[in-house]
Amino acid sequence: MDLSTTYLGFQLPHPFMPGASPLIEDIDNVKRLEDAGASAIVMHSLFEEQIRREQIGAFVHSESHDQSFAEALTFLPAPDRDILGPEIYLNHLARIKQTVRVPVIASLNGSTPGGWLEYAKLMQEAGADALELNVYSIASDPAVDGAAVEARTLEMVRTVKAAVTIPVAVKLSPFYTSLAHFSAKLDQAGADALILFNRFYQPDIEPKKLELSRVLNLSHPSELPLRLRWLAILSSRVKSLAVTGGVHSGEDAIKAVMAGADAVQVVSALLQRGVRTLQTLRDEMVRWLEEHEYESLEQARGSMNLAACPDPGAYERANYMLILQSWEDPATRS
């Protein structure tokens, strides 16, 4: 069965790849992922904000004890080089690149225009074949309106695109007022693909302690329909799409491809059932396609998107409608 797909300009034998996760921190795991047939390796995110905070934290907290007491002018050894910068990430990237034959996609979570540019370039130099830009941030400032949030993101994408020559995917959250419009803008700004959607730490409340805790639950197939909807809506309107979050079976992946995904990123299933699951999902997909007499995966791609599906309105309706309510005004029918 031909599962081949094109994502970020790469001809891939199939759409399955690990999503951004700590899985790749261990180089042996990276090898295992490739052995399990990963069509690309996606790295975990380099958080510009964390690097900055760690640098300045170390500076303020340890420097303030230095040179203030006659017996001890410092309290920690001074390494010769910048050890709190992105070097570890970049070195690891280079090492993965040397280890595997499949494309390596680096991932960057940034917060400032300058930072994006700087780190994106470094990633390309370290050997990344493509970049994922992770633009998730919480718009909690009432002085910043939605337009400003979008404008800032678009600016970042343009900046990065201008700085690197490798393809750039943008990983989005579902929290935009008009995702379709924004996606079109991102596409115009040069995004080579969109990845739907981010999953992040969420705050939880410990009521007895009156404290907040941070939780990151593994994904569940129930999260998939939100992604299917937006894949379907955006499919064929942007250059390329990937799904992440909620794919736990071959059939889940089939659905995502039908909705328009070119690539399928999997994390939770791998964390729960091991990296060999990548192979299992592919086998399940093949089996399903054979059982249902598909010639290739390509045949299924986008078959259920907004343009091609038999009931496009279902993607756009927020509420369930009875058959009795199914009359559509000819004037609004597309």
């Binding site: 500076f59 920690l76 050894p77």
Partner: protein
């Protein structure tokens, strides 16, 4: 010394370094093995060597020297001796007590005629007190070992002589001790010309190196050394090496000549500077000789016939060279020794000079008439030695009196040894710029000044010198930087007396210190002021305004903290103030200065991250916009005066002595002000109000659950709890807070939590531990931080009232967390770091047992915050009882404390025996009640004290036979002996002694404040350092798990052992203290102490303690041998199996993060090992906690026989 260098010589690099680096740079490049142990002020030489080797820097033969840290200087000397015997070029660095510990091996090394050069940053040996500062008492204790002794007096010489001494030892086979003045030279930063590798290769003779290698022990050409010899031959054999000593001075001079030939600087065994026909000559060695050099040249220019003879080679002493160096016209000599030998005819250099001259005279070899020779002492413990003193001692030679065995630099009003000197005497130094900077340790002033010196030293043709004075506090420390720049070489090694430029980086200092005292007329004053420019003048205290007007100073102000905040730099104002300094001092053109500052920032902070560099750049760019010259009005306008140093109600001694020391004027105190034996009153820290917290905790009774945890965790006893009767509130200040005490036992009582606003360091541990939150607004806790200045006066009044509230009767207090905090802390307001993880344990100890405790304290952080003058944090209760505290050494603390126990036990036995003989003569006093008293709790102690009081009253009326008992009677009240120290002591240098004391049956309690690193000397690894942590001497991350001291002690079976962490389980901490103290035998408590050397914000210290315990990295347990008798397992595990992975604990601390970042792959392995070893250790503990010791009846129970006759 030669001037300049021949033109054909290649230009060498000029570097700006301190004396330690200058010396170590040569030592590291000319040795193969380096055995080290940290001791101030020499530690940096070992650290640098370790760092260079860790980074793969090679010696001149292309090998990376092996650097190994030993467990003590004794160990280092042993390793050195062995390495030398096996043929490697070997060195070590040390000072003071460390050097003394090396002496036994030094005799051996010298006796075996071994080529070896060690480097010593000469430091005071502890006598009536410890001192980390510089004098020659340590090196002078080695003059009999057979070592050659070469003295350098400046940073350049420390560099040059390191090379000359190494070359000379290899050629002469006499081992050399090369030394320079601790701090004054070891820590002075100066511009020097650096010797390159080719120089070293040219000057170290390869044939000598080969000969040294060939002498090494090898089974391929075996010999035997270290024989035992008998009366028949020892003496002759001892004399066999004499020839080498006779040849050595010539060899050293030859090496000095070879050095001059290559490098251009000519040194001699004795270097003379001054008038060619001088009549009066000063003889001395070390950095003082450089001050004398500069002074003498000035005096000669004024027409005086004076000179200075610098002693370079002190051993072997060359009379011939001495005489050759002296001007033939000399009539009088004054010899200065930087050491004291009580009871000697004179100090060593004086005796040697005198003997040499007399011998030469006797032999008819003195080419001039025997001069008059007088000797004196100067500069002990880095006491200032300035041009005025040089002039005074030379002047003394010109008087008829010619006082001998004098002192200079102090006022001796007891035995009247001191010479007077002109305190205002100065030598003109045209073209020299002298600047003083007053800063806080935390604000980065010293670091910035070090950068400034480098900039000026390396980017201009100027010479530059920097010296930095620190106070003895670890929190809120004041630093004073002394910077000199000029076109001529700078030799004066004394502090600046008149500054062209004064900077005060902390506005608050103006209230406490006379920062303008040393400003010369017309000088520039740069002030960091948190006020708009137009308001700066009006905020100055009256005295400051007066001085500015009187001296005609130019005043510049900048709001540095606003600039720092806006640049995202926290409280780091260093680069901002540095920019201002360059902008207004004119030392460099402004633009060039800014470029250079940025280069320096890049260099210092480049490796700390791009963000740090970026923000510093932003701060530099913003600084000038905030810098304003303040117009100085013609008249003084302020009414506010500088604050008194101590409150008026302070005791006389504090006002007379302590206050002067606090004001930085301890120099003015005469000899008569001091006790003759180093005994000081306790309880003086309370008179020093430091006001270092920007924010302090404030209590909200409405939310408080009265748990007292805030008081327990406070490192400075600055937040306290009290319970008292409502009547005591009469006359309370309006703002004083109190609430009903929620307790059945003390119903109707009131309860207050009160902060000491001027003693709090603002560490926030209390806020972080507080479990009580406002239900509607949980960010508000029962304690919140509030800005201090607006509430300082109010809280000061509240605190004074609080202190006067009566203390709760100790008999009514429960021995738990809450109860312990109603006991008065007898350790308060120490100078420990803000958020210190050690001091809460020490404080708890004093609360529970302080009124009957003797504390032996190992040298280290705890001895410094516990006993470094000016003030003393250990204090007394209202009965006048409190901890009696003493520090002996670093290495002997367990033995020292055991000595306390032996003495107390002896006193107890004597008292009991005496009491028994009093039968019948004590009226209604029942002797058996005293002898058999149960003193196991506070009520028992109280009752016994009452009995003893009655006994003493009765004895006072009795005949002289009762005198002995009267003197000893107080020992019949149970005393508790505590042996306190850090992990460096307990795990390393003092382990042998600790082990021995634990192996005894004596009733001593050992508290190990385990920071897992040598904290006091700056974070060198100890055997307590955990796997995976970086530390100095373990730069890549330690590869061996932490030593399990607890398990070792448990092995004895009869030792009570507890491992505790107050931030994780405070109830277990309190329980362990109570159990350990009640156990009649040796007890060991190992206490987790978070520390700034772990590299994170100490406000999170308690969180890290929790993680340490939850990950089982630090399991909590108590091993109580008493449980064996009850058929229970002696070991109780107080914490559960690992709940979180150790990596969750480790990732929060820079010591582990650095290790991870340096080599992620290696770190992963270390982490796996750390996880495994943690789990394994825990599993072993878990198994042991189920083991019941079988009681066969044949073996006596492991509980020791009672040492204490009360049989507790």
């Amino acid at each position: 010394m030669g001037k300049g260098e021949p033109s054909e010589m290649p230009k060498r690099n000029c570097v700006t370094v301190d004396g330690n680096e200058a010396c170590a740079s040569v030592a590291h490049r000319t040795n193969e093995v380096i055995a080290i142990y940290p001791i101030t002020p020499s530690s940096a030489m070992g650290e640098l060597s370790d760092e260079w080797s860790a980074k793969g820097q090679r010696n001149i033969w292309g090998a990376v020297p092996e650097v190994v840290e030993m467990q003590s200087e004794g160990g280092a000397a042993g390793a050195v001796h062995g390495s030398l015997q096996a043929g490697a070029l070997t060195t070590t660095f040390t000072a003071s007590q460390g050097l003394l510990l090396m002496i036994p091996n030094m005799y051996k090394i010298a006796g075996e005629q071994t080529a070896f050069c060690m480097h010593v940053a000469a430091r005071t040996v502890a006598t009536h007190a410890l001192s980390i500062f510089g004098d020659h008492s340590d090196v002078m204790a080695c003059r009999q070992t057979g070592f050659g002794m070469l003295s350098s007096g400046s940073v350049q010489e420390a560099h040059d002589f390191a090379c000359i001494a190494q070359a000379a030892t290899l050629r002469s086979r006499i081992p050399f001790l090369h030394f320079f003045d601790g701090f004054r030279t070891s820590h002075e930063v100066a511009k020097i010309e650096a010797l390159n590798d080719d120089d070293l290769r040219a000057l170290i003779d390869d044939t000598c190196v080969a000969a040294h290698h060939a002498r090494g022990l090898s089974p391929d050409h075996p010999v035997l050394r270290g024989t035992a010899q008998n009366p028949d031959v020892f003496f002759q054999a001892r004399e066999a090496g004499n020839g080498l000593y006779l040849d050595a001075p010539g060899i050293v001079q030859a090496e000095m000549d070879r050095f001059a030939e290559r490098v251009g600087r000519q040194y001699r065994l004795f270097d003379y500077v001054g008038h060619p026909d001088a009549e009066r000559v000063l003889v001395l060695m070390g950095s003082g000789a450089e001050t004398a050099h500069e002074t003498v040249l000035h005096l000669v220019s004024m027409g005086e016939r004076v000179g200075v003879l610098k002693v370079r080679l002190f051993r072997p002493f060359s009379t011939q060279a001495l005489i050759a160096a002296m001007p033939r016209t000399v009539r009088g000599l004054v010899v200065l020794d930087r050491t004291k030998e009580p009871g000697a005819v004179g100090e060593p250099l004086y005796l040697d000079i005198l003997t040499a001259l007399r011998e030469a005279e006797g032999a008819g070899e003195l080419p001039f008439e025997m001069p008059r020779v007088i000797g004196g002492r100067y500069g002990l413990s880095s006491k200032e030695f300035d041009p005025g003193m040089v002039k005074a001692v030379l002047d003394e030679l010109g008087t008829d009196r010619r006082k001998n065995h004098f002192t200079i630099g102090i006022i001796d009003d007891v035995t009247h040894t001191s010479l007077d000197w002109d305190r205002d005497y100065e030598i003109p130094t045209p073209g020299r710029f002298e600047a003083l900077f007053y800063g806080l340790g935390a604000d980065g002033t010293v670091g910035a000044n070090k950068n400034s010196i480098k900039i000026i030293g390396e980017e201009t043709d100027n010479y530059a010198q920097g010296y930095f004075v620190y106070d003895s506090k670890k929190s809120g420390a004041i630093t004073i930087s002394h910077l000199r720049f000029g076109t001529d070489p700078i030799r004066n090694a004394s502090l600046i007396k008149r500054a062209n430029f004064v900077a005060c980086h902390q506005f608050g200092f103006l209230e406490r210190l006379d920062v303008l005292e040393l400003a010369s007329p017309g000088a520039t004053f740069l002030l960091n002021a948190p006020h708009p420019p137009e308001q700066v003048w009006s905020h100055l205290p009256r005295e400051v305004q007066e001085t500015i007007i009187e001296k005609g100073l130019r005043l510049f102000a900048i709001d540095g903290y606003t600039v720092a905040r806006e640049a995202g730099m926290g409280g780091r104002i260093n680069s901002i103030m540095q920019t201002c300094f360059f902008a207004i001092s004119g030392v460099l053109p402004r633009e060039e200065a800014i470029t250079q500052i940025k280069k320096a920032i890049e260099k210092s902070y480049g490796k700390k991250g791009a963000e740090v560099v970026k923000r510093n750049f932003a701060a530099v760019d913003a600084a000038l916009a905030y810098l304003h010259e303040i117009e100085v009005p013609a008249d003084v306008t302020a009414t506010k005066m500088r604050q008194p140093i101590v409150a008026d109600e302070a005791p006389d001694f504090v006002k007379r002595v302590t206050a002067l020391m606090l004001a930085g004027k301890g120099e003015l105190l005469p000899v008569s002000a001091f006790p003759i034996d180093g005994t000081w009153p306790t309880g003086t820290a309370k008179w020093e109000k430091r006001n270092i917290a920007l924010e302090i905790p404030i209590w909200d009774p409405a939310i408080c659950i009265q748990c007292n945890k805030c008081a327990l965790v406070c490192p400075h006893a600055a937040i306290r709890a009290k319970v008292y009767e409502p009547g005591a509130l009469e006359g309370a200040p309006v703002a004083f807070l109190s609430d009903d005490f929620r307790s059945k036992e003390l119903e109707g009582h009131k309860y207050t939590i009160q902060v000491a606003p001027e003693d709090c360091t603002g560490c926030q541990l209390c806020v972080n531990v507080c479990p009580a939150k406002d239900k509607a607004r949980p960010k508000h806790k029962a304690i919140d931080m509030h800005p201090q200045p607006p509430i300082r006066d109010r809280e000061r009044e509240n605190y004074a009232f609080f202190l006067d509230l009566p203390e709760l009767d100790r008999r009514s207090v429960k021995s738990d967390v809450k109860g312990s905090q109603f006991l008065e802390p007898l350790f308060e307001y120490s100078g420990a770091c803000a958020g210190c993880g050690e001091t809460p344990y020490v404080k708890l100890l004093t609360q529970l047992f302080g009124d009957r405790a003797l504390i032996a304290n190992a040298t280290g952080c705890s001895s410094i915050y516990g006993g470094n003058l000016p003030t003393t944090p250990f204090t007394k209760n209202s009965d006048g009882r409190g901890p009696a505290w003493s520090n002996s050494l670093f290495e002997d603390n367990a033995e020292f404390g055991m000595g306390f126990r032996l003495a107390v036990d002896s006193h107890v036995s004597a008292a009991r025996a005496a009491l028994q003989t009093m039968n019948g003569s004590l009226g209604d006093i029942i002797i058996s009640e005293i002898l058999e008293a149960d003193q196991s709790d506070e009520a028992g102690i109280y009752n016994q004290r009452e009995r003893i009081l009655a006994l003493k009253q009765k004895l006072a009326q009795n005949p002289p036979a009762a005198k002995r008992l009267e003197a000893l009677a107080d020992y019949l009240v149970r005393k508790t002996v505590w042996i306190v120290g850090g992990d460096g002591w307990a795990y390393d240098i003092g382990f042998g002694g600790l082990d021995h004391v634990l192996a005894s049956h004596r009733d001593v309690n050992v508290l190990v404040l385990d920071t897992e690193v040598y904290s006091n000397t700056g974070g060198q690894q100890s055997k307590a350092t955990p796997l995976g942590a970086v530390a100095k001497f373990a730069m890549a991350g330690k590869e061996i798990p932490k030593k399990d001291l607890g398990m070792m002690a448990m092995g004895y079976g009869h030792v009570y052992v507890a491992q505790i962490a107050f931030g994780a389980k405070d109830a277990q901490t309190v329980r362990a203290f109570v159990e350990a103290e009640s156990y009649n035998g040796p007890s060991l408590i190992i206490a987790y102490s978070h520390c700034i050397a772990h590299g994170y914000d100490m406000a999170f210290g308690l969180d890290q303690q929790k993680l340490a315990v939850q990950s089982a990295k630090w399991p909590l347990f108590r091993f109580d041998p008493r449980r064996v008798r009850d058929g229970k397992p002696p070991l109780i595990l107080d914490s559960s199996a690992p709940k979180v992975p150790v990596k969750d604990y480790m990732r929060n601390e820079a010591r582990f993060r650095m290790s991870e970042k340096l080599d992620p792959e290696r770190y992963k392995k270390l982490l796996r090992w750390a996880q495994r070893s943690t789990e394994e250790r825990f599993a072993v503990y878990e198994q042991l906690s189920r083991v019941v010791v079988p009681q066969t009846g044949a073996i006596p129970a492991s509980t020791p026989a009672p040492a204490d006759p009360e049989g507790n």
